[in-house]
């Protein structure tokens, strides 16, 4: 539960198993990526610097992550898994599903506020990704969906309407982050947007409370 190394491998279903050295390299690279991103954001993650900081040749870096966007999306996968684990430990306290999701997303948002540059790098990479990164972006999307569904605290499987609502919430979440990161929306504004969109959930799931 507290060890994240076990969960980390689960995100990469394909490819041959890596040796210990290779796993260590991969981890060093992701660490360097997050480190550099934590400073200057997207632009500060320069492939040569990542390679040097993780003690790996440039060509090797590109063997592990075929582009800067791939690298940053993988970094986001990594961070999201940490976040998911953290959020699980303290489930939301609100009774209504919509409020629970809003509460959870606001917690995530506060976590991002502590590392705005890292958030910048990851979110920009995510929305800038083209088709060649689709599988990885999809993994991130599934992780996000899982976090939201977790927060809803459903009894059974979600209905199609609920899944649509969750998709829209995800859209709003990403786009609101972008506007905040580029300085066009305040923290308060993002909060309002999240709370607004979360009303959709209570609209589709009219509280089947006992």
């Amino acid at each position: 539960m507290t060890t994240d190394s076990t969960a980390a491998g689960a995100a990469l279903p394909a490819g041959p198993p890596l040796t210990a050295r290779q796993e260590a390299r991969r981890r060093r690279i992701l660490h360097a990526s997050a480190e550099l991103a934590g400073r200057g954001g997207f632009d500060a993650v320069q492939m040569r610097e990542v390679a040097e900081a993780s003690d790996v040749a440039l060509g090797t870096l590109y063997r592990y992550f075929p582009s800067k966007v791939h690298l940053l999306v993988a970094t986001m996968q990594d961070q999201l898994q940490h976040l998911h684990a953290t959020l699980r430990k303290r489930p939301p306290t609100e009774p209504e599903p919509g409020a629970r999701v809003a509460q959870t997303l606001m917690r995530a948002f506060r976590a991002l506020q502590r590392e705005p540059h890292l958030a910048d790098a990851m979110v920009r990479a995510l929305t800038f990704a083209d088709r060649s990164v689709s599988p990885e972006v999809d993994t991130v999307s599934r992780l996000t969906t899982a976090i939201i569904l977790d927060a809803m605290g459903l009894d059974g499987a979600p209905t199609p309407e609920q899944l649509s609502a969750v998709r829209v919430i995800e859209h709003t979440w990403h786009s609101a982050l972008i506007t905040w990161l580029s300085g066009r929306a305040s923290i308060a504004q993002v909060k309002i947007d999240i709370e607004t969109v979360c009303r959709l959930i209570d609209l589709t799931a009219p509280v089947p409370r006992a």
Copy 2:
């Protein structure tokens, strides 16, 4: 109304007035940008090619648009103004405000489907833009907001709740476009997302019909 040269200047509130030659240069640049974007999308808009196609030196191009993202966001402003004018001519037919907005956005979506590469270039630039492009991105946002508010067909001024709903709709609109452009969502999926989020409007504006 039909001449766009008059409307084009309205989007740039700052800066000294341009001479006729300068206005013509600006227009040639935007045309070349849209042309190239219409082919290969974001990557196909190469600054050297834009400069050559618009018969302008590279340095001059950068004087008019300080970065590729600035250029593409300006291109989006331009296209949005066309779109706004086109949409005004045929207002939505649905009675409910939410359905009117959904109908309008689906029209816009169909227009984008005709030029998917152009859409790719513009939307990617928009979400990739950093703080240095905030004013221009904000202009695009205001244009989009205007289109949505137009579609709602309000009698008076929108309430704060309605403005929040519109913001969330914009978030969903941009993010849904991204997922479609990167091949992670189908056209049908985008339609559902738009219709889902547009319910928020009828939630905040409970049909003050007569």
